[in-house]
């Protein structure tokens, strides 16, 4: 099925990015195949995507449609079978080596033998000369994500939500221009997730980072994104790019508004055909 609505209206760009020429991410006909004993899986099939600097794009789709794979291609963790990837105007590997990419995993991926602060400091200790510190110290970042006073706690002493906050602080420590998040709040209870959603928007506004955010929650995708990229499964491909026209600043209460409800209904209808 051909990708729909790929022509992005130029007025959908992030406010901070107005007039900025090079997109933060450009994917051009990306195809990824995995070969296993059970045969070849086409995880992504000819995916195009363009994300403007400072933008917040959410990726929504059924499980197995290649959302994680897409994120891993952008992060230079997987090489695509065909197609081209440009990240921040260059090779994905160059962006990774310059520490322009921050990645947040679903299970936080903290090192259990390090305290919260030591986990945030990890990017400053590894990778040789690339480890230049950002504007904010690890301590300030922990404060930014609401964990002041928890610097010396070990991961097993933190709740799931707090662990994920640490991992966001860690991803921000080199001032990345691009933040890739793979279902970061998928394992959290709804109340914690709502709270973290609001806080993530605040962090996004404060840092000006471009964010590509994977989720399988329709509400989360609609609430966070300036655009929602809907993916269809088997093979993974772009179904639709839906612009989100909700006023800023967004608050959880906004989910009761008519505009939000209609947006969610539309996303659900499309998703049912994916």
């Amino acid at each position: 099925m051909p990708a729909l609505a790929l022509d992005r209206p130029s007025d959908r760009m992030a406010p901070t990015a107005a007039g900025d020429a090079t997109p933060a991410i450009t994917l051009d006909r990306i195809t990824v195949r995995f070969t296993t004993e059970r045969g070849t899986v086409t995880a992504l099939d000819g995916v195009d995507l363009s994300v403007q600097p400072g933008g917040f794009v959410t990726l929504l789709g059924p499980s197995g449609c290649g959302k994680s794979t897409l994120l891993r291609v952008v992060a230079d963790l997987i090489a695509p079978s065909s197609g081209s990837v440009r990240v921040l105007g260059g090779d994905a590997s160059v962006a990774r080596e310059r520490r322009d990419i921050g990645f947040v995993f679903q299970d936080a991926a903290l090192l259990p033998w390090r305290t919260a602060q030591q986990n945030v400091e990890l990017p400053l200790e590894v990778g040789g000369g690339r480890a230049q510190p950002g504007k904010r110290s690890p301590r300030e970042l922990l404060e930014l994500v609401g964990l002041a006073g928890w610097e010396n706690a070990y991961p097993h002493e933190l709740s799931g939500g707090m662990r994920q906050r640490v991992s966001i602080a860690r991803a921000l420590v080199n001032d990345p221009k691009l933040l890739l998040m793979d279902e970061p709040f998928g394992a959290l209870d709804e109340i914690t997730r709502d709270r973290l959603n609001e806080e993530l928007l605040r962090v996004w506004e404060e840092t000006g980072t471009t964010i590509l955010f994977v989720t399988h929650s329709i509400y989360e995708a609609a609430f966070l994104g300036q655009e929602v990229l809907l993916l269809a499964a088997r093979p993974g491909r772009v179904r639709e790019l839906v612009p989100v026209d909700l006023p800023a600043p967004r608050q959880i209460a906004m989910r009761e508004t008519r505009a939000f409800v209609e947006l969610v209904a539309h996303l659900r209808r499309v998703l049912e055909t994916c």
Binding site: R99, Q106, G146
Partner: protein, 282 residues
Amino acid sequence: MSLRATDALQMGGAFAEDAEAQARFEGTQRMLAWRRRLLPIAAVVGLLVVWEIAVVVFDIKPFIAPAPSMVAKVLAAKFGMLMSNLLPTAIEALSGFLLGNAAAIAIATAFVYKRTLEEAFFPVAVMINTIPVVAKAPILVLLLGNGMEPKIAIAALICFFPTLVNMTRGLRDVSPQQLELMRILSASPREVFIKLRLKNALPYLFSALKIAASTAVIGAIVGEWIGATAGIGALIIQATYNFDSPLLYATIVVGSAFSATFFGVISWAERRLLKWNVGHAA
């Protein structure tokens, strides 16, 4: 901005309000802790008393089973001699422990980076491990002579296998996401090893070291049975041939006490180093 963190701090405050209940709770906890420590001691003392009475009541000959009081007397009277025999055994056990574990850690590292090596040599390690210690000991005495060397070799061999297996697993079982994280940070292979694999392997290593702490002592003692003039093992053989049961029992007490201390030191180091490990935090 309302946060879990501040919630928890406020909850802490709420707890502190009832200081009396808090004190009562802590008192109960302390009592339970003492109970845990005292109960096994009471059980051991009780068994010793039963044993002592049984020896007297059934008129058991000292060479068949000496009374605890007699063993205690020998322990006190021959303390210097027992200690001078513990020294070589302790040196052999500790040297074997260090050598065997160092070799196991080095080889586990090689296995993790070169699968081919593991495929070739792991079956060999399994085969050597299946040979019982009492069979390995004479071979090593023939190979290494009558000094401390064969005893150290036996203690090392006996430590080697559990550490090899655990260390290989610990170095290898890092989560794929942690590896991806290291790649995103462009970490060098050396950094991945030191900052990720080695740390991840520590809990696995310590469970092997705790086993090794007791088996190294057993290895040294078995080595001394084959041919030695000094050491806990030699003393056990001599006491047995002389039907000197009180000395035999006293020797065993000294050997066990050393083994237990060794184990205790490793456990203490584990608690200190692995504070972050949930399983050991309690």
